[in-house]
Structure formats: C-alpha cells, structure tokens
C-alpha cells in the first residue's frame, strides 16, 4: 500500500467530530456497521463465505490438499491461512510482493483462528505418518472501506464452518463436514481523534492513529491481540476496549450462529 499523504484537513475534521462524540459516517463510538454474511458462495471452494460490513466486502474460500504429516506430529493435519489484498480492493492497494500491511493482516487473522483451537488438527489425520488433510483458508478482499481485519476473520470462520472435506474426490472415503468446535471473533478498535472507535471505516483509518485487534473465544478467553501502527495507549483505554469486545463478539457470534 503506497503511503498516502494523510490530509491534515481530514485529521482535523475527525478530531473535531471526536470532541463532539460524533463519527464521520454518523455512527456512535462503539457502533459497528451492518454485517452481512453469506455462505456457499464460491462454486470451486469446499467452503466459502462472503462478508459485507458497510462498503467493505471480502470473500473467504476453503480448499483441501493432502499432505504428509510432519515427522514430529504424525497424527496431525495442518491449517494454512493466507490473505491477499490485490489492487481490485482499493485505490491504494498495489500489485507486487505482499506489503508489510498485508502480511500483518494475514498473520493476525491466522493467529486468532489457529490459537482458538477451533480446528482439531488431530481429526485431519487420514493415515498416521502418511496422509493428512491440509486445510487452506484463503482470504480475498474485493472492496476495502476499512477494517479488513474483522471482515477477514469473520469470513474465515464462516467459511470453515461451511466447509466439507472432499474425501470422495481424493478417494479416501466419504465427504463430511469439517468440524469447527469454537467460534473466535475478532473486534478491532482504531484511535481516531484521540479516542478509540470500533470498526473504523476507510476515512477513519486514513486519518487515524494506532489500532488494536482482539480475538475472543466463546468463553471470553483471549486468543490473540495485536497493536498496529504508531501510537501510545494506556491500560485504562485497553480495559475499556476489552470490555466492549466481550459484548460485541457475542453479538457477532449470534449472527453467525443464526445463519
């Protein structure tokens, strides 16, 4: 992503809005945009989801490959999570090797899903030491109007829950649903005009400072954290955010469960 010349005017405007407890698109400080989730949207993927949060749109697709288990874990398959943000998704995303921003995005989403233990890697074993399933989760942005982190994380877990292991095509038995035992949800907060807001839109990201990403499990257990960008925050700020994330993650999980 090219370094945009952050318009000072935008920063000033956002600061003024913050003083009046307002946001650039009319939302409240902790209010998220509408979330739409659709699954089974990609004919060639074994599991898929499309998530829309305002004007941010992403896809997630699950594919399976057969791998040889690592010699120190002969009974386990693998999970690989890869995020791509190609120029289709916005004016500032450029082609070429992955930018530090997109590498961070992919790794943070990956950790949230992986560390929740939602995929039982032992259940992916086909023949111990010989064959196991590798689950590949590809995250793909179509339109970036801010907060790709939460959109990717949500599309990712939705696609995994939607996935069917293609055992017949690989001639190792009958197809079955990939078991997904937990539902990690990421909530992201961005400091805009000197206070944190939830689910920043594109212009808030452009004129904002640091961001904090929290992934919580079903029982409010913390599975991953990441602070990104230049900026300083206090324990008190973090405590408030953590509380908000506990609330919001339950709401999102309910949307997912209601599909």
């Amino acid at each position: 992503m090219a370094i945009p010349l952050v318009p000072k005017l935008l920063r000033a405007h956002l600061a003024e809005l913050a003083e009046n407890d307002a946001r650039i698109d009319g939302r409240q400080q902790w209010e998220g945009r509408d979330v739409e989730i659709e699954t089974s949207v990609l004919p060639r993927a074994e599991g898929s989801a499309r998530v829309r949060m305002g004007d941010t749109i992403v896809f997630a697709g699950v594919k399976f490959q057969i791998m040889k288990p690592y010699s120190d874990r002969p009974n386990q398959g693998g999970l690989m999570c890869s995020a791509e943000i190609r120029p289709v998704a916005g004016r500032n995303w450029e082609s070429g090797p992955p930018s530090p921003e997109s590498i961070e995005l992919g790794r943070v989403v990956d950790r949230g899903i992986r560390e929740s233990g939602c995929i039982d890697v032992d259940a992916l074993c086909i023949i111990p030491g010989e064959k196991a399933w590798q689950v590949i989760l590809d995250l793909f942005a179509i339109s970036d109007d801010g907060n790709l982190f939460d959109a990717f994380a949500l599309a990712g877990i939705a696609a995994l829950r939607n996935a069917v292991v293609p055992a017949e095509r690989f001639e190792v038995g009958e197809d079955y649903s990939l078991g997904v035992s937990k539902t990690p949800i990421m909530c992201s907060y961005h400091k805009v005009g000197d206070r944190f807001v939830y689910d920043a839109c594109g212009r808030e990201e452009l004129g904002g400072d640091e961001r904090i990403h929290i992934t919580l499990g079903d029982d409010d257990h913390v599975h991953s954290l990441q602070k990104g960008l230049k900026g300083i925050f206090s324990t008190e700020e973090f405590t408030e955010i953590m509380g908000r994330a506990q609330e919001r993650s339950k709401e999102i999980r309910d949307i997912l469960d209601s599909l």
Binding site: L42, D55, G61, A89, G90, F140, I142, D145
Partner: protein, 238 residues
Amino acid sequence: MGGYGDVQMIDENGKRVDGRGPGDLRDITIETDVVPVADGSCRMTWGTNEVIVAVYGPMECHPRKLQRQDRAVLDVAYNMAPFSTTDRMRPGFNRRSREISKVTKDALESVVLLELYPRSKIRISIEVLSAEAGTRCVGLTAASVALADAGVPMTDMVVSVASGKINDVVVCDLNKEEDNYGEADLPMGILPNSGQLVFLQMDGDLSQEEFNQAWQYNMDAAQMIHNFMVDSLKGGEA
C-alpha cells in the same frame, strides 16, 4: 487443447453434454457497481465462471517511467483467486496470467479514448473468483462494462467470446468439460457495432472451413452478449 476427441460429447441429436445446441451460449448475468470503493465495477457470471472487475482512475501514473506524455496508459491485471479452481491455485506471478493481462490491455487500449487523459493511468483489475473455461473472454467483456460504468469514454465496448471444436464439430462457447477434451479454441474480441476485432487468439487444430464456422459463431454470439451488456448498464440486471 487437452485431448483429441476420444470422449463423446455430442449426442446423436447434435446436443452437447449440457443440453445446448452447437451455436448456443451458456447463461450470462451482468451486474455493475459491485465494488463500492471503485470508480466503476462489474460482476459477470457466465456458466459457473464468476469474474469481478474494478476500474480506478483516470489517476496519476506512477511509477513515472510508465507515464506517456500524450495519452493515458491502462494498467490491466488478470488474476485467478486461489479458490477459483478445483485444485487450489497458488497466488503470485505466472506466465499465463501475464500474457492474458497483456492481450486484454492491448484489446482495451484499442477502444478507450486514451488521448483524453495524458500522463494518467487507468487501473483495471480482473479477478476470477470461479473459473469454468473461457475466463479471459469473461474478463475482457466484464472489463468493458466496468469501464463504461466508470464513465471512461470508449469508441465501442469489446465483447469477447470463444468458439471451438469438440468431436470434430465446431461449437460456440466451450464449457469446462468441452474445453478439457476439445480440439481447438478460438477466442475473439469483437466491436459489436462495426464487427471489427481488437483481440484474437487460437490454439488447436482447425481446417480453414472449420475456422470460418467458428469465426461466424463468435460474430453472432457477440451481438447477443452485447445486448445483455447494454441492458445491465441501463440499470437492469442482465
């Protein structure tokens, strides 16, 4: 082309595996304004192909060395998403995508009024979300619609479609199975108003006679597809 006709794909009534006649197209839908942050965009489904195109610009051209003093340049990237194929496609550079990007760019530069925007760049991203056969045609056609949606002036839109040969029979618009076992593939990029061409590829084996038949199928199909395109830009979904 993959095979040599040893799989029977046309029945005694001249019907193809999916029930089409030799000159019939697969189902096509066209939708615009599908990438909210882009200046123009198009989602096209064609059989089980699904392609999304976003257009950004005209905007400043950088790196500078690509800039042209007297006209805009098109920056076209055709790409297959990793989940678009039966076997996962590894992200990143490949020679096929580079070539398709180049011929698509060559075709579109033939119709866009580049002289109107000196020193600028128009970026066209073609993303294949689901691939069935003929994705380069779907991408080029959808890119025309997205350019029109972005308000970029063109002398005409490009309609792209491919005919081919299976079991020694010339047919229009090969589907995936036909493509796998087919004997030839002739994709063309046609200007529907003049019948002229801006894109042409072919591989396989066609006699001069078969070649002329395939050419004609493409010309006819282009007119039909053009109607869908115009409808979708008028606000309806094709």
